[in-house]
C-alpha cells in the first residue's frame, strides 16, 4: 500500500484555502461592481456595465477619490524625502540626544491612531489652523515619516561600509559616492517605503476623520455612505485600484525577468 504522504496534499490544500480566505472579499467587491444596484449595493440585482462606464456617476465618489489620491501622493513624497534624510542623520551621525531621537521616531508608530488623531486635532485647534486638506496632509506626513525612517534606517544599517570606502578609493568625492553607490543601493528600500506610505495614507480613516474638517477622503466617504448604502461606483474604484496594484506588481516582475534574461544572454 502507498504510504500516506501528508505534505503532498496538506500544503496545496491549506495554501489554497488561505488564498480563498484572503481573496473572497476582494472578489465580492469586484463582482458587485457589476451589480445593477439601485440605492444599495448589498444584494445582487443583475449584471450591468454601466458602473464601469461611468465610475463617477454617484455623487461625490470621484471627488473623494481624487482627494485621497492627492493627499496620498503629497504625503508620500514629503514623508519619503524627509524620512530618508532623517534616517541618514540618525543612522550615520552621533549627536547629543541621538538616543532620545531614536525613540521619539518610533512613537507615532506605537501610538494608537485615535490618540494620534485626537491630539493632532487639539493641536490644530489650539494653533487656530483651519481643518481641511492641509491638516490632513500634515497628519499623514507625520505617521508615514516615522514608518519611512524605520524602514530606511534598517537598509542603511545593512549597507556594507566597504562599498563606500571602495568608491572613495576610486576617486568618488562624498556627494559622488552618495549618488553613485549609496543611493542606488537604497532605492529598492525607498520605493518600498514610499509604496507602503501611500497605502497607509490612502487607507487611513481615523486620523483623517479627526483632522480633515469639511474635506472628505475616500475612506471617509465610504464610511458615511455605508449608512445609506454604498454606491456600486465605489466598488468600481476599489476594484480598479486593486487591478492597478496587480498590474504594478506584474510589471515589476516582468521587468526583472526581462533584465535577468538580457544579462545572462549577453554574459
Amino acid at each position: 500500500m502507498r504510504k500516506f504522504d501528508l505534505s503532498r496534499w496538506f500544503i496545496p490544500v491549506f495554501g489554497g484555502l488561505a488564498f480563498v480566505y484572503l481573496l473572497v472579499p476582494i472578489a465580492y467587491i469586484f463582482v458587485f461592481s457589476f451589480n445593477d444596484a439601485g440605492r444599495t449595493n448589498l444584494s445582487w440585482r443583475g449584471f450591468t456595465l454601466s458602473n464601469w462606464q461611468n465610475p463617477c456617476g454617484a455623487p461625490q465618489v470621484c471627488e473623494a477619490f481624487v482627494n485621497s489620491l492627492q493627499v496620498g501622493v503629497i504625503a508620500t513624497v514629503v514623508a519619503t524625502v524627509l524620512g530618508t534624510l532623517l534616517a541618514f542623520g540618525l543612522e550615520r551621525y552621533r549627536f547629543r540626544f541621538s538616543g532620545t531621537a531614536n525613540i521619539l521616531v518610533f512613537l507615532p508608530l506605537a501610538t494608537p491612531e485615535v490618540v494620534l488623531g485626537a491630539s493632532l486635532l487639539s493641536q490644530f485647534l489650539n494653533l487656530g489652523v483651519e481643518l481641511g486638506m492641509t491638516t490632513t496632509i500634515i497628519s499623514h506626513i507625520m505617521f508615514c515619516m516615522s514608518f519611512v525612517v524605520v524602514t530606511i534606517r534598517a537598509r542603511i544599517a545593512s549597507l556594507d561600509p566597504k562599498l563606500e570606502e571602495a568608491a572613495a578609493d576610486l576617486y568618488a568625492s562624498g556627494p559622488m559616492t552618495f549618488w553613485k553607490v549609496t543611493f542606488p543601493l537604497l532605492v529598492p528600500g525607498i520605493v518600498a517605503a514610499a509604496l507602503l506610505s501611500f497605502a497607509m495614507s490612502f487607507d487611513d480613516f481615523i486620523v483623517a476623520n479627526f483632522n480633515s474638517g469639511p474635506f472628505t477622503t475616500f475612506p471617509q466617504f465610504i464610511y458615511v455612505a455605508a449608512t445609506r448604502g454604498i454606491p456600486a461606483e465605489a466598488n468600481v474604484i476599489g476594484s480598479g485600484m486593486f487591478l492597478a496594484a496587480i498590474a504594478l506588481v506584474l510589471g515589476a516582475q516582468l521587468w526583472r525577468y526581462w533584465r535577468g534574461k538580457r544579462v545572462s544572454a549577453v554574459g
Binding site: 556594507d160 566597504k162 562599498l163 570606502e165 571602495a166 568608491a167 572613495a168 578609493d169 576610486l170 576617486y171 568618488a172 568625492s173 559622488m176 559616492t177 553613485k180 553607490v181 542606488p184 543601493l185 544579462v263 545572462s264 549577453v266 554574459g267
Partner: protein, 391 residues
C-alpha cells in the same frame, strides 16, 4: 584648500598619456592610535617605484591599518605619508592616486562588471573609459563576463574584477589587502602567478598584505615583516630567511633553532660561541650583538644528522655537536623531520632531505653537524618563542 596639487589631479595627467608606472612611497614615523590602543607604532617605510612589496605579519599586527592610512581611508595620529615627492598626509582617499583591492573585494553589487571596472575612470572623466575598462578586463581574462553583475561570478572571478577595477586606473601605488585570502589553495597558487605577471606588465608599485609567509616570499621582491604595530625587518625574501635580525622574524619566517650561547672570543671575522659543553662559531657580520650572552640560531634544514662517530659533511668551518638523541621522527616523504635532544643545549629541529634511505628511529644516537656560515646571532635578551606559530 585648493585642489591643484592633489594626487588625483596628477593621476589625471598620467592618464592623459604620460608613461604609466608607480611612484616611491614613503611613510615617515607613522603612528595610529584607536583610543588607547596603539595599532601602528612609529613606522618608517620606503617602497621604491615599481616594486612588489609584501607586508607580512600575524593577525592584528596593523597591516590593514597601515594600508588604510596609505589609501587615505584612515588618518595617522602622527607622521607623514609621501607618494613620489608629494606629501599626501592631509588629503582624502578620493584625492590620492592610490587604489585598493579590498579583502572581500567590495564590488558594487548594483553595477555590471564593466561599470565596476570603469568606475574610477568615470569619476576622473577619462575619455575612453569603457574601452580602457574592457582592456583591463581582458588583462584578467574576464572580458566575456563584462555584462554580468558581481553576484553572478565565482570568488576567483570576483577577485580578478577587483584587481582590474584597481589596476585600470594605473595608480602610483596599488594596495592589496589579502586579496587571495578567500580563495582555495589551487586557485590561490594560480592567482599568485597571475598577480605577479600583471604587476610585471603594468609596472606599478604593489603593496601586498598577507599573513601567508609562502605567498609573501614567492611573490615579493621586498618583504617587510610586521609585528605588533612595528616593522621588525625589511629585505629581499632570501635575505630575511637567511639572516633574520630578530627572534620574531627567525620564527615567523620558516622555523629556527634558537639557543642561548656565550661569546667566548673572536678570531678575525668570526665569533666563538659556547653553549653548554659545545662550541660553535659564526661570522661576526651575522651577529646583531658581539659580546656577552647572545641567542644563536640555525635553520633546521641546515643541520645534518649522522650516526655517532661517522664523518660529517665537511671538516673546516663545520661544527659538530655530539651526544644527540632522537626524540621524535616524522617522515614527510621529501624529508624527515627530527627533534633531537642535545644534553646541555636543549632540543634541535633537524630537517633532513631523504637523499639516502636511512631514517633514524626514535631513541637513536646522532651527531649533529652544521656549516658555521649559516649560524646567525640575535640579541641575548630575545624571546626565543616570539613569532612561533601556535598550531
Amino acid at each position: 584648500m585648493t585642489n591643484t596639487v592633489n594626487a588625483a589631479d596628477t593621476g589625471g595627467a598620467t592618464g592623459a598619456g604620460a608613461p604609466a608606472g608607480g611612484a616611491d612611497l614613503r611613510l615617515e614615523s607613522i603612528t595610529k592610535r584607536f583610543g588607547d590602543y596603539l595599532a601602528v607604532d612609529d613606522l618608517d617605510l620606503r617602497v621604491p617605484a615599481g616594486r612588489f612589496f609584501a607586508l607580512l605579519g600575524p593577525s592584528g599586527c596593523g597591516k590593514t591599518t597601515t594600508l588604510r592610512m596609505i589609501a587615505g581611508l584612515e588618518h595617522p595620529t602622527r607622521g607623514r605619508i609621501l607618494i613620489g615627492d608629494e606629501d599626501v598626509t592631509a588629503t582624502r582617499a578620493h584625492q590620492r592616486n592610490v587604489n585598493t583591492v579590498f579583502q572581500n573585494y567590495a564590488l558594487f553589487p548594483h553595477l555590471s562588471i564593466l561599470e565596476n571596472v570603469a568606475f574610477g575612470l568615470r569619476r576622473r572623466r577619462v575619455a575612453d573609459a569603457e574601452a580602457r575598462a574592457r582592456e583591463a578586463l581582458a588583462l584578467v581574462e574576464l572580458d566575456h563576463l563584462s555584462a554580468r553583475r558581481p553576484a553572478q561570478l565565482s570568488g576567483g572571478q570576483q577577485q580578478r574584477v577587483a584587481l582590474a577595477r584597481a589596476v585600470v586606473n594605473r595608480p602610483h601605488v596599488l594596495l592589496l589587502d589579502e586579496p587571495l585570502g578567500a580563495l582555495d589553495m589551487k586557485l590561490r597558487r594560480q592567482m599568485q602567478t597571475e598577480l605577479k605577471t600583471i604587476q610585471h606588465e603594468v609596472g606599478l608599485t604593489f603593496i601586498h598584505v598577507t599573513h601567508d609567509q609562502e605567498e609573501a616570499m614567492t611573490m615579493a621582491d621586498t618583504v617587510a615583516v610586521m609585528n605588533a604595530g612595528r616593522i621588525e625587518q625589511i629585505g629581499p625574501p632570501e635575505e630575511l630567511y637567511d639572516l633574520p635580525r630578530t627572534a620574531f622574524v627567525a620564527n615567523f619566517l620558516g622555523k629556527s633553532n634558537l639557543f642561548t650561547a656565550q661569546v667566548s672570543g673572536s678570531t678575525g671575522d668570526w665569533l666563538e660561541l659556547g653553549f653548554g659543553p659545545h662550541l660553535t662559531r659564526l661570522p661576526a657580520a651575522r651577529a646583531v650583538q658581539s659580546n656577552g650572552q647572545v641567542i644563536a640560531g640555525i635553520r633546521p634544514e641546515k643541520i645534518v644528522a649522522v650516526r655517532p662517530g661517522e664523518p660529517g659533511p665537511g671538516e673546516h668551518g663545520w661544527t659538530k655537536v655530539s651526544g644527540g638523541r632522537v626524540l621524535s621522527t616524522s617522515y614527510t616523504g621529501v624529508s624527515t623531520e627530527y627533534t633531537v635532544d642535545v644534553p646541555g643545549a636543549g632540543e634541535f629541529e633537524v630537517f633532513s632531505q631523504n637523499l639516502r634511505s636511512e631514517v633514524f628511529a626514535e631513541g637513536a644516537e646522532v651527531d649533529l653537524w652544521w656549516d658555521e656560515r649559516n649560524v646567525f646571532g640575535l640579541p641575548g635578551d630575545s624571546d626565543t618563542e616570539a613569532g612561533v606559530e601556535e598550531v
